[in-house]
């Protein structure tokens, strides 16, 4: 009788503990803004999803529990606010920790603390990111089920449960499924180290764990891409490498993942997590279990990889492990592998620390939370979400839900009204243009090489160009346009013609007086991105970089225009035609 009462009391305490953890996670989730924007179903159950921070644009879908929740609470947007995923993560972490703690008796509250701390840390670092939560949510549960499948005597039941859970995990993590399933399988292997199953059981378990994830990865549809013109792009070019094409799997015609935003948003967070995981990695305890040891190690490695990707200079970051793995994995360049790595690292580091240090782990955890919170949540930092009512605007929301979200982000950052900015881009495209010769303008480039006989022979109408012909852009080239009479100008077009690689890499344009020192600044592009255009349905995009059409910030009456090429490249700077934008 005494024993039964004790069991009942334990059950009650466990339930209360779980409830408390649920409440904590619910409160954190409700306080946070989602960093993603979702749309209606497009292909069966798949819907478009865009991450407003790093511009990851995907076709996404929900696991069965979330779909049920969506039907029960139609007013709550579970696609953007993955509450069910968060609760599944809580439950999974709790069970995983109980099982891990069972291998080595530890702090009694450890499972509950870990179940609350791990999701909270993930949310604080990455915000409400459906892709990360979707990928991480089911990992602990799958790991526990896979472990049971490898070691349980009730094989049929454990295999059935694993099948069900791994299918949900695959539905939840979608394109990132392989990463999640491989992590879960590895965790199951760690759990089973003390009681390994036979090779046949391991093989079946691996198949059931990885199979659904691989299947979903291979069959996931590509998100509906608006019909951008050929060679259009949506991400500002940072001046380092060109397009980085993935080696495997489907992709879009241009890069959608904003690496610059990824670096600015997650750089310091990666460092905070690196510090926490370093502690988990270096803390050595005599009786540390393999689970605690290896989760700590891998958590550290993942945080290190994320840090390398977000903190190294771009040319080095592109060959760091995460972007490289992203190019090797199907869909790896369409979602942010860095975010997923940070999410996994946070979960692994927290569980490892709690398993190793017990209650003392709360001190570094609190320090990490403080560090991360000091920089504000990712959602608060986002310029689109910061602008009141922007994503709620019926007209703007469908436009932002596209790869052009990155451009909307920069438009929102400028502080002006988005609709006005779109209108002014449209109007700029309609400004009439006139050839410099029609306006009687003289054009000269400096430095200019002396003309050879061959140059003169080749100087046909189609092949004509002003060019430095040094084989490179050094950043000191100037093109001067002298008008016969002063005119009011709205902009300038510097067409490289058939020399399409010879566009300027950076531009500074001054004008007005023919005295360069008295000329006023008309436009400045440290890195030339291509002209900004708007599709008919309102989506902004950058035209190919060899389309050099610059609209001045304000109409200017000028006798001379000075175009300074400020970039560097292993190509000439060539201008075949100079056209001026005049009303």
């Amino acid at each position: 009788m005494h024993s039964r009462q004790r069991n009942s009391a334990r059950m009650l305490a466990s339930s209360l503990g779980l409830l408390l953890v649920f409440v904590i996670v619910l409160v954190v989730v409700s306080l946070m803004e989602s960093v993603a924007l979702s749309g209606d179903f497009r292909v069966k159950t798949w819907f478009p999803l865009v991450n407003l921070n790093h511009n990851g644009f995907l076709a996404w879908r929900l696991d069965s529990p979330t779909q049920i929740a969506t039907k029960l609470f139609p007013n709550y947007n579970f696609a953007e606010r993955p509450l069910v995923g968060g609760l599944i993560l809580v439950l999974g972490t709790l069970i995983f920790m109980i099982r891990s703690s069972a291998l080595k008796p530890s702090w009694r509250l450890a499972p509950y603390v870990a179940a609350a701390a791990a999701p909270v840390l993930i949310l604080l670092i990455l915000g409400l990111d459906p892709v990360v939560i979707g990928c991480v949510a089911w990992i602990p549960l799958v790991a526990v089920c896979a472990h049971r499948s490898m070691t349980s005597e009730r094989q049929a039941l454990s295999i059935s449960v694993l099948t069900l859970v791994s299918m949900q995990a695959a539905l939840s993590s979608n394109q990132a499924g392989f990463v999640g399933a491989a992590t879960a399988m590895w965790l199951a292997y760690l759990l089973a180290l003390s009681t390994p199953g036979g090779p046949q059981r391991v093989a079946i378990t691996s198949l059931l764990t990885l199979g659904p994830a691989i299947l979903v990865t291979l069959t996931a549809p590509i998100a509906d891409m608006p019909s951008y013109p050929r060679s259009a792009h949506v991400l500002p070019f940072d001046g380092s490498y060109g397009t980085l094409r993935p080696l495997l799997g489907p992709t879009y015609p241009f890069d959608t993942l904003d690496r610059a935003a990824l670096r600015s948003d997650y750089g310091t967070r990666s460092l905070a997590l690196l510090a926490l995981s370093a502690l988990a990695f270096w803390v050595r305890k005599l009786h540390q279990t393999p689970v605690a040891r290896y989760t700590g190690k891998v958590g550290f490695v993942l945080a290190l990889m994320a840090t390398l990707n977000t903190c190294l200079p771009e040319p080095w970051a592109t060959i760091s492990p995460l972007p490289s793995l992203g190019r090797l994995l199907p869909w790896g360049t369409t979602y942010s592998l860095t975010s997923v790595a940070l999410g996994l690292s946070a979960w692994l580091s927290v569980t490892s620390l709690i398993l190793t240090l017990g209650a003392f782990s709360l001190i570094p955890f609190a320090a990490c939370v403080l560090w991360v919170s000091l920089y504000g949540s990712p959602a608060i930092l986002n310029p689109i979400l910061r602008r009141d009512g922007l994503v709620a605007d019926e007209k703007i929301r469908p436009l932002i839900l596209s790869p052009s979200a990155a451009i909307f982000r920069s438009l929102a950052e400028s502080g002006f009204e988005i609709k006005q900015q779109l209108d002014s881009i449209r109007q700029a495209a309609r400004i009439p243009e006139k050839d410099s010769r029609e306006l009687g303008a003289q054009v000269e480039m400096h430095p200019a090489p002396p003309q050879t006989t061959l140059d003169q022979a080749q100087a046909t109408e189609a092949a004509w160009r002003w060019s430095t012909r040094t084989g490179s852009q050094l950043g000191d080239e100037v093109l001067t346009v002298r008008l016969s009479t002063p005119r009011e100008l709205r902009g300038i077009i510097l067409d490289p013609g058939q020399y399409f690689t010879d566009y300027p890499r950076g531009l500074r344009i001054t004008g007005g007086s023919c005295d360069p020192s008295a000329a006023i600044l008309l436009a400045h592009f440290p890195v030339w991105q291509g002209s900004l255009h708007v599709l008919q349905r309102g989506l902004p995009y950058y035209a190919p970089r060899n389309e050099v059409r610059v609209v001045f910030s304000a109409p200017t009456t000028a006798s001379c225009i000075f175009v300074y090429q400020t970039g560097q490249a292993h190509f000439d700077w060539s201008v075949s035609r100079v056209r001026l934008l005049v009303d």
Binding site: L247, L248, G249, T251, P315, I319, S320, P321, P323, R327
Partner: protein, 736 residues
């Protein structure tokens, strides 16, 4: 020390010959090695020093192990990684970002190769790679039909073969008022046909075609390498490594397979390693089994159906000469040889007869050009310009023969080396030297011969496109490389340097297949194309509006339609057509309309269209588009694609006779049938001496179209007549 100098000497020589000038990392700044010759000289000095030391120490000529130290040769892979090699155009590994993947690969391999059990991973790796490649092809195709360059033509050939084999060659009325369908022999289409026959008869050719291509590239080719490696005595792990390497041997393999669509060559290249392995076993066995003899006969015949492969395999015969007396005395060997000759003699004779092989081999074209027509606003003047190639800008085409030139040969080799998997470029030499198998002399001889053909021979006989031989050489080299790499991985436990060496090689081994998937996904310098919606739309238009006439493609068409040839269009639209070329058999700008008619202007063009019974004309060149658009009373635009316009000839009455009258004319791919109304007719079909009519007398009738038309006399009005080719046997032996 001797092994370091010896191996380093060979490595530097190989790097110098393959790389030319070497720059560091991303090619910024001046060259680290200004020219390859410096490395070659340094290499020769180093190798020479090793030999001298060896003699001074009383050890004589250094053993082959001294020249193949795996740690030293791995420095070559590091040179590739740290130099500008990965940034060069037409590379399989496309940098600079690929360096990251290689680092990841090296890290994974470093973990794997230290544990002996994990080396088994490489045994299943080729299966995974094949899966990834096939999936990548599926992703790239999006369900569309592979149409790039000659793929369209091979599809057409397979359709023709399905309908007409074994009655080949034959006369087909589908293109250019009738053509001699005989290039099944010269292009090697028969080997792909034989291998894929069950599929071709079970499924529509269009459905079967992607399966056939994937089957040849990613099932037949790796299977042949695996079997060849096993036959020459390599263990499973080495054979698996060779197979993986063959799946990512170089960019040019995919160029010929996916972009150019030379399926005959690809099938032969795939079979080549197996033929060599079977031949080696056949030569070495004192009493070969009937099965191995039969396998050799079948596989060799399939390979030889792309005839230049015979040249490629010649060194096998040379190396086998010392064993000739034993082979001649062996009954089984002789029977096998007789069967082999009997299987191949008929088609070789037929090819020799109908394809004018001798003339092709001796064709000597000094300056064949592929000019670009210029566009002017005046349609009539630009048409005249089109008819005179000298008047338009011309770029020299590759088919220009010259004498032996080692500088060009070296340049050819360097271009090919960049496109090869660096593992092959760097490690093939030590792998061939260290190869311990009965096949060693054969594989060395064949490899050297193929590289000579691909570098030196290509200038002598450019029409044979012998640069392809380097692709075959790269596949053959994977067999010794498989053994060399397996030894490298197994030796990883010997020390940290061995482990690093194995990791470096393993990185290229792991990432190579991903570089290949990127090529298949059309993300490399070489892209290939699929039949887009425009092709289907064009076919529907032609089919709907042809109205009993032909379609004439104006101007010079090669790859303008979805990157492929026009060949299969008549079969899809059930409409015969006329074009300057429906396949890649012209090497200079050509109009379908002969010069005398074209120079007459409108009347000449009209006369040609009438002679061809053209109810529809297409245009893709600005001059022709303008020409048709500026004559709205004669031509009405009915369709427009990205490049092509289709115009209907207004007032045209479809008729296939110049003189006389016929009714109920029907086409098949190899004949026409009709009922004459008059007893003599002149048909708007091209006359060939090898065609026959079921009842009338045939003779040529000269025409303004530049060729003879079919003239029929003595026909019985109302009696159905079929015109088709005489039987192949009569064509071969009957002197037709």
């Amino acid at each position: 020390m001797i092994h370091i100098f010896a191996s380093l000497g060979l490595l530097l020589t190989a790097l110098g010959l393959s790389g030319g000038a070497w720059y560091a990392w991303d090619k910024v700044g001046s060259a680290v090695v200004p020219a390859g010759r410096y490395l070659v000289i340094l290499g020769l000095i180093s190798a020479g020093a090793a030999i001298v030391f060896s003699y001074l120490l009383g050890r004589g000529w250094p053993s082959k192990e001294r020249f193949t130290d795996k740690r030293v040769w791995t420095l070559g892979l590091l040179a590739i990684f740290f130099s500008d090699w990965l940034l060069r155009p037409w590379g399989l590994f496309k940098g600079p970002a690929i360096r990251g993947e290689l680092l990841v690969g090296a890290f994974i391999c470093y973990l794997l190769v230290g544990k002996r059990r994990w080396i088994r991973f490489f045994s299943i790796w080729p299966v995974v790679v094949i899966g990834l490649l096939v999936w990548s092809f599926h992703v790239a195709s999006k369900g569309d039909l592979l149409f790039s360059d000659d793929h369209a033509m091979f599809l057409f050939r397979l359709k023709l073969l399905r309908e007409n084999f074994p009655s080949i060659p034959f006369w087909s009325p589908l293109w250019n008022a009738g053509f001699d369908a005989r290039d099944f022999f010269a292009t090697g289409a028969l080997n792909a046909y034989f291998l894929s026959a069950p599929l071709l008869y079970l499924l529509p050719v269009e459905t079967a075609y992607p399966i056939i291509i994937c089957g040849i590239i990613w099932a037949l080719a790796p299977a042949c390498v695996f079997l060849a490696a096993r036959i020459v005595g390599l263990p499973v792990i080495s054979a698996a490594l060779a197979t993986t390497l063959s799946l990512c041997s170089g960019l040019f393999w995919f160029r010929w397979a996916l972009k150019y669509g030379t399926i005959g060559f690809i099938t032969s290249a795939a079979l080549f390693p197996l033929v060599i392995a079977l031949a080696v076993r056949f030569i070495r066995d004192t009493k070969p089994s009937i099965l191995s003899g039969a396998a050799l006969c079948i596989v060799t015949t399939l390979m030889l159906l792309w005839s230049p492969s015979g040249i490629a395999a010649l060194p096998v015969l040379l190396v086998a000469i010392p064993r000739a007396p034993q082979l001649i005395r062996s009954k089984r060997h002789m029977v096998t040889l007789v069967v082999l000759v009997a299987l191949n003699l008929p088609w070789v004779c037929m090819m020799w007869k109908v394809s004018s092989v001798g003339r092709f081999l001796n064709s000597h074209t000094e300056s064949l050009t592929m000019p670009t027509p210029t566009h002017t606003s005046d349609s009539s003047s630009s048409l005249t310009a089109l008819s005179t190639p000298s008047a338009v800008s011309a770029t020299p085409y590759r088919h220009k023969s010259s004498s032996i030139n080692f500088k060009n040969a070296l340049s050819n080799w360097q271009n090919n080396a960049t496109a090869l998997n660096p593992l092959i470029v760097i490690l093939a030499v030590p792998a061939l030297i260290a190869f311990s198998s009965i096949a060693r002399p054969y594989i060395i001889a064949v490899s050297v011969w193929l590289i000579l053909l691909g570098t030196v021979g290509v200038s002598l006989k450019p029409q044979l496109e012998l640069d392809r031989m380097i692709v075959i050489a790269s596949i053959i080299a994977t067999i010794p490389l498989g053994q060399y790499l397996a030894q490298m991985f197994l030796a990883a436990n010997r020390g940290i340097l061995w482990r690093i060496a194995a990791s470096c090689a393993g990185a290229f081994m792991l990432i190579g297949p991903f570089a290949a998937t990127a090529v298949v996904l059309n993300r490399s310098d070489d892209t290939y194309s699929f039949a887009d919606r425009e092709v289907a739309s064009l076919v529907r238009t032609l089919s709907k509006h042809a109205a009993g006439g032909r379609v004439v493609f104006s101007g010079c068409v090669l790859h303008q339609l979805s990157g492929g040839h026009l060949a299969p269009l008549p079969m899809w639209s059930q409409t015969p057509m006329v074009a300057s070329s429906y396949a890649h058999n012209i090497w200079k700008y050509e109009q379908p309309i002969p010069e005398p008619l074209l120079s007459r202007g409108d009347s000449g063009i009209r006369e040609f269209f009438d002679l061809m019974n053209a109810s529809l004309v297409t245009a893709h060149e600005p001059t022709w588009i303008d020409y048709f658009k500026t004559r709205p009373s004669e031509y009405e635009q009915i369709w427009r694609g990205t490049d092509f316009f289709v115009f209907k000839r207004l007032g045209h009455v479809a008729s296939y006779t110049v003189r006389g009258e016929l009714v109920d004319l029907t086409f098949t791919s190899n004949s026409i049938s009709f009922t004459p109304v008059t007893d003599s007719l002149v048909l708007k079909f091209r006359y060939y001496p090898f065609i026959e009519a079921s009842s009338c007398q045939l003779r040529p009738e000269p025409s303004a179209a530049g060729f003879d038309l079919i003239s029929l006399s003595g026909c019985s009005p109302g009696t159905r007549i079929t015109i088709k080719s005489v039987s192949p046997a009569r064509r071969l032996f009957g002197g037709v």
